[in-house]
């Protein structure tokens, strides 16, 4: 097993802030603390080479779990072993086998030209010259970095920066790659580029990948296995297709109409999710989505149509409701 987590618990003492001037003044002298359980008894294992997605709404505990796995946080209770090491000890031999990439975070070396930043990584991971050259050339080709090499990382667009971050993180060919919201803030093209790259990379190199996201799309594209975490507890651990089928049986069709249409029209097509003027959202069984969409386009004065998955929060709510 690459990663083994047993009974992980992480709690924080958070100063509770109440509104009002008097309570703020009192707060200067006596502070009230509340214990927040960010992660509450989470257990799972990941085999070498697996790609696992960690799904959950914001504040669910995904990032906290990730930080415990990478040694950034000490667990309050429970055990964590990654590649046979205890992450919080931060042994050099451990750190050299992993990599952490976080979406929209600045690297320390962001005002260096990209190529120099890669050289810094080479020094940090003590990568030999031939290995470095080989890895760098491969990554430059895969991520299309040639035009970016001379530019300072901070002047790159978010998508370009992400590609550079990924390259930098993989130069030392880590056994485990941790990704925290890697497509956060990227446009559709950027997201697609990152997802396809990670898929290819995993196929080539067989690295274990643990990816947290609140975008369903990240997980759908990359991971067969998914862990759903909500309010610190693990709600689901298993095959993604199963999750989707069981708990997200619907998709949403969003229509922009040329002119408003009587409300009773919709019952023939699906359940109405919301109506805002000329924009109507319908809930339709997954299997029938394309067919219904086709009928809508043929029958009604539709200006624009979009098809989406239910928001992750709804899926997760469904996951809980199912239990």
């Amino acid at each position: 097993m690459s990663i083994e987590v047993h009974g992980l618990v992480k709690h924080f003492r958070v100063h509770q802030r109440k509104p009002g001037l008097r309570t703020s003044l009192r707060g200067l002298v006596r502070r009230e603390y509340v214990e927040v359980r960010a992660v509450d008894d989470v257990s799972f294992s990941v085999a070498a080479g697996e790609v696992v997605g960690f799904l959950g709404p914001n504040g669910a505990g995904k990032t906290t779990t990730l930080k415990c796995l990478t040694g950034l946080l000490h667990p309050s209770e429970g055990t964590v072993r990654v590649l046979g090491h205890t992450p919080q000890r931060r042994e050099s031999s451990f750190l050299r086998q992993i990599s952490l990439v976080m979406g929209q975070r600045n690297s320390l070396f962001w005002d260096l030209p990209a190529l120099d930043a890669f050289e810094v990584n080479r020094a940090m991971y003590r990568i030999g010259e031939p290995a470095f050259r080989a890895a760098l050339d491969e990554l430059i080709a895969l991520l299309n970095l040639e035009p970016l090499l001379g530019k300072q990382v901070r002047v790159l667009s978010l998508g370009e920066r992400m590609r550079c971050e990924l390259a930098g993180a993989l130069l030392h060919i880590p056994a485990v790659l941790f990704l925290d919201e890697p497509t956060l803030g990227l446009d559709v093209n950027g997201q697609a580029a990152v997802r396809s790259f990670l898929r290819d990379y995993n196929a080539r190199r067989g690295a274990t990948v643990l990816l947290t996201s609140h975008y369903m799309g990240d997980v759908t594209a990359l991971a067969k296995r998914v862990l759903v975490i909500d309010r610190g507890t693990l709600r689901f651990d298993g095959n993604l297709a199963v999750l989707v089928e069981a708990h997200s049986p619907h998709r949403l069709i969003r229509l922009s109409l040329q002119r408003p249409v009587p409300v009773d029209t919709w019952s023939a097509y699906g359940e109405v999710d919301s109506v805002e003027g000329a924009v109507v959202t319908l809930r339709v069984p997954r299997a029938e989505t394309t067919a219904v969409a086709g009928r809508l386009l043929a029958d009604l004065p539709v200006v624009d149509v979009g098809i989406e998955d239910l928001p992750i929060e709804d899926v997760i709510r469904a996951v809980f409701a199912g239990e």
């Binding site: 050299r96 690297s107 320390l108 070396f109 050289e119 020094a123 003590r126």
Partner: protein
Amino acid sequence: MSRRSPYLRILGICWRASISSEMEYRLNFLSSAAVSIFWMVWAAVGVSVYFRFTGQVAGWSYPELLVVIGLFFTVNGLRQAIFEPNLERIGEYVRRGTLDMLLTKPVDAQLLVSFRYLGIGNVMDPLLGLVVTGVGLALSGRGLSVGALPPFALLFAAAIALLYALTLALMALAVVLVGAEELGSVSFAVVELARFPVQLYRNPVQSVLTVLPIAFLTTFPAQALLGRLNPVLLLVAPAVAAGSVALATLTWRRSLRSYSGASA
């Protein structure tokens, strides 16, 4: 590959980038040098006012005082070039998650965080400071004696080490407090106290400034150059410096542990 060289190589790359980015603004570079010269002249003239009424203050003549003032500018210049740019960024590292990224790398965060940036906007200060010191030595009639150089070098190195210890302790505080950019001013204020030799303040201030090792920053190195150094200090200064750096390093490590919730 030896353990040292990765850090040297990394810092080399980073410092090269700092230098080239600051070099882009030539006008500012030149005016910084002019400003530095101005403040040195200002200090030299300002101090001369005391000597309208006396030939020496607390055993220091005017040229001897210039030696100290020159060293003050040197030490302060190094502070502005090496320590200050890094201290002001710690809060940002914590807020933006940069510190987290760094902590997952197989390197010691302390070295990188301490020396990542090089501010060469005021690169003239240390050099000009030494010029003022030289002028002071010449005017005092002593000149620069070769025998004074080794003790001076030792004490000067101790002074810089002490300054580093202070900076590191402030960085540790900044991690825990998440920001507090005003901490840079603490470092600045501490060094300002070393502008004059501590004897000028008389007791009790003088004793206080010797114990908080302000006197080690400029007064003692100056005394070494002037051949007035109490030999005991040749042992005491390195010990105090090493002790301070060790204490500051412990403080830094403690703050990182607190950051990662080790105690919680």
